[in-house]
Symmetry: C2
Subunit: 417 residues, 2 copies
């Protein structure tokens, strides 16, 4: 078993349990009537060296020693990290700790490498390098799509796991609003402004049916936005990009500005914006992420229109549905639409918290990620860096330990016949 | 559960067992010291409508109602098949049976559709259509790569599972050759000419160390090739393409023709060709598939050179290693190289037989397939058409049946805390 992770973390436990290898054993039957059946043993194997791009918004959890690096190393893949220029010092410190751990574990020095670049040349060279077999990326849609296209243009295309862009719709159903509009409005702005709105799971869209409950929600949310103390953003570039994208929506025909916070140098002005469903449905440019603390509320005339609006959004990391017992029929109707649009669907909460769990899915349909078949958070993330290999008719002593009949590593496995 | 498969096949059993849904349940802990922990439930969901391209060489097992169609339907994906123009009548008959089964099962009519086209327009339109969410393809490298690039150029790129090109190297180690060279030579030509060499797992490369054993193998193989009764190929196009590609290798500087069979109109002339390792390593054009009954034997001076030759080949569906007890050290050295190059590694056999098994991997690194993270044969094939979805904090009666606490479908599941 890989010994790079020696702490008693969730990941280390998962590795020791061995389920990630997906071992399947189908025994031989030389006397089968239709012809001899071979002995087949399936295990998983590392894809090869992985390029990981550090994220601007998570200098620790999703950068040099973040989720992709941990998953790739755990899978047995050497990792080359391209550090994010927003935090070069932090990157260097973390990379030094990782390199020291590699040396202390007596792993080959090439197990981990760290490169810095303020531009895009090093990243492009990494993704184009024939020795790199997969890419992990967290960042903007433009940069992510550029890497996806670069990887697809190689003579050997490789998987790119790019987490790019999401508006994480929040659906508010009427009966729940009637009983708790103010409480939800305040909690919503808490989620919207968490980390100055720079979480990938930030709730940038709200869908609700017109009525008294929605007005009460909006009043409470507007109060919370107006009194929010403007937060410093990660970089000057992110700050100016947020000002531009939120102003563009704010100035859009059919959109009204309900509330905004103060602002200051390098600080974001939170914005609460509203429009009607017809305007939203007719203008896909209103569906895009504003990376920062701004949300667009879409007023729907009825449940049919709300369902249409939810079905019209692009792929998402999360969709949240707020409901109570009296909303169950509506919630039941919207849930399949939400599952089609997102990797995670929440009841009566906000997606900004991402639990590190075996059951977490942090991923979703395009463009929230470039590959919806996987997760970047939770123990299942190791699977994105593995591929299956079948061993046929090998004697016990030549088989990889994971699939030996004697099972020296105690791997969980399914055995047929 | 999907009810489209009602036979007691391996696939139906696998579906009923439910492991494909990969259910994971991590219970809530509202009182956790570090903050409330949500209830998280992971299940799998269909990717959406799938385009399947019928294969020329398997009108039944890998065409209209072949592996990809069965896997996609089982996953819950509607399927649109583009029939192969090599067998339009067979395609129409099979499509009619599938449509009748869809109607008899009272599934929506759109569950299965069938399109024919002698050209590439319909296929291109299918892969470009925004409603299609994945592609299954079995065919030539040129056509497969064109579809991969078309899918990558969409505004929403989608997965393409293209099985394209493999030479399936056979490694013959000295001690095993010494004891059974003639027997292996005859069996090898049996595999090489099976289906007139038109299996995707056809053994087109042989790697061995020079010596008496290899010469005995070559003599037996040459005899078998020379006396082979030429077989009819699938289409005139495949027949002329094979004649061209096998002649190109035969006429290559440094390659000698050891034996060839007779031929006739639409029939293949089997060829046994040989070269030395230096020529092979210096000429990547000798590494490519000749789709038909032709093999190139590469004479290596020693085990080091044999290892270099094996490491130099492109990604493969299979690598076979022939050895006996006295070859164990050499086999142990070559096995990791073989596992890096192929999705399936066989001992003392040939890959042309592909067992339909839960433990089968029919897939491999590029260009044998466009996505080495999956298999097209065996029950694990269903996974290529699924994506994970996490449900957070939903009440029992709104949860999908697969992840309900009461487990009404008896799904196998892992439960934490």
């Amino acid at each position: 078993m890989p010994n790079v992770l020696t702490t008693d973390s969730l990941f280390a436990t998962h590795l020791r349990e061995g389920e990630f290898a997906g071992v399947r054993i189908d025994h031989a039957d030389p006397a089968r009537a239709s012809g001899p059946k071979p002995d087949l043993r399936l295990t998983k194997r590392a894809l090869g060296p992985v390029a990981v791009f550090g994220a601007s918004n998570f200098p620790l959890a999703f950068s040099v020693a973040g989720g992709d690096t941990a998953s790739a190393l755990a899978a047995g893949c050497p990792v080359v990290v391209k550090g994010h220029p927003a935090h070069p010092g932090t990157g260097e410190l973390v990379a030094g700790a990782l390199s020291a751990a590699v040396a202390a574990s007596e792993l080959p020095a090439g197990t981990f490498s760290f490169l810095q670049d303020g531009g895009i040349g090093v990243g492009q060279a990494l993704v184009s390098d024939a020795r790199i077999k997969a890419v992990g990326f967290t960042g903007s849609r433009g940069a992510g799509e550029a890497l996806v296209r670069l990887a697809a243009a190689r003579s050997e295309p490789i998987p790119v796991y790019a987490e790019m862009s999401a508006t994480n719709p929040v659906v508010l159903l009427p009966a729940r609003l009637a009983e708790a509009a103010e409480q939800i409005g305040t909690a919503f702005v808490g989620s919207l402004t968490l980390g100055t709105g720079q979480f990938c799971t930030n709730p940038g869209l709200v869908f609700a049916i017109e009525g008294d409950g929605l007005e009460r929600f909006l009043a409470a949310a507007a109060d919370a936005v107006a009194t929010w103390a403007p937060g410093v953003m990660l970089t000057p570039g992110i700050c100016s990009a947020f000002a531009a994208s939120s102003s563009q929506v704010s100035n859009h025909s059919g959109v009204s500005l309900l509330a905004e916070s103060g602002t200051a140098d390098l600080r974001a002005s939170a914005k609460l914006l509203a429009t009607d469903a017809a305007t939203f449905l007719a203008n896909p440019d209103l569906h895009h992420e504003m990376f920062g603390p701004a949300a667009l509320v879409v007023r729907c005339s009825d449940l049919d229109q709300l369902a249409d609006v939810l079905a019209a959004v692009e792929g998402q990391l999360t969709v949240a549905i707020h409901f109570n017992d009296a909303d169950h029929i509506a919630a039941r109707r919207l849930l399949p639409i939400a599952m089609d649009r997102a990797g995670r669907v929440l009841a009566n909460g906000f997606g900004t918290g991402v639990e590190v769990s075996p059951a977490m899915v942090h991923g979703g349909p395009y463009p929230s990620t470039s590959d919806c078949r996987t997760t970047s958070v939770g123990t299942m993330a190791i699977e994105r860096f593995l591929r299956p290999v079948c061993l046929q008719d090998f004697p016990e002593d030549l088989l990889p330990e994971t699939v030996r009949e004697s099972n020296p590593w105690g791997m969980p496995r399914r055995v047929w016949s």
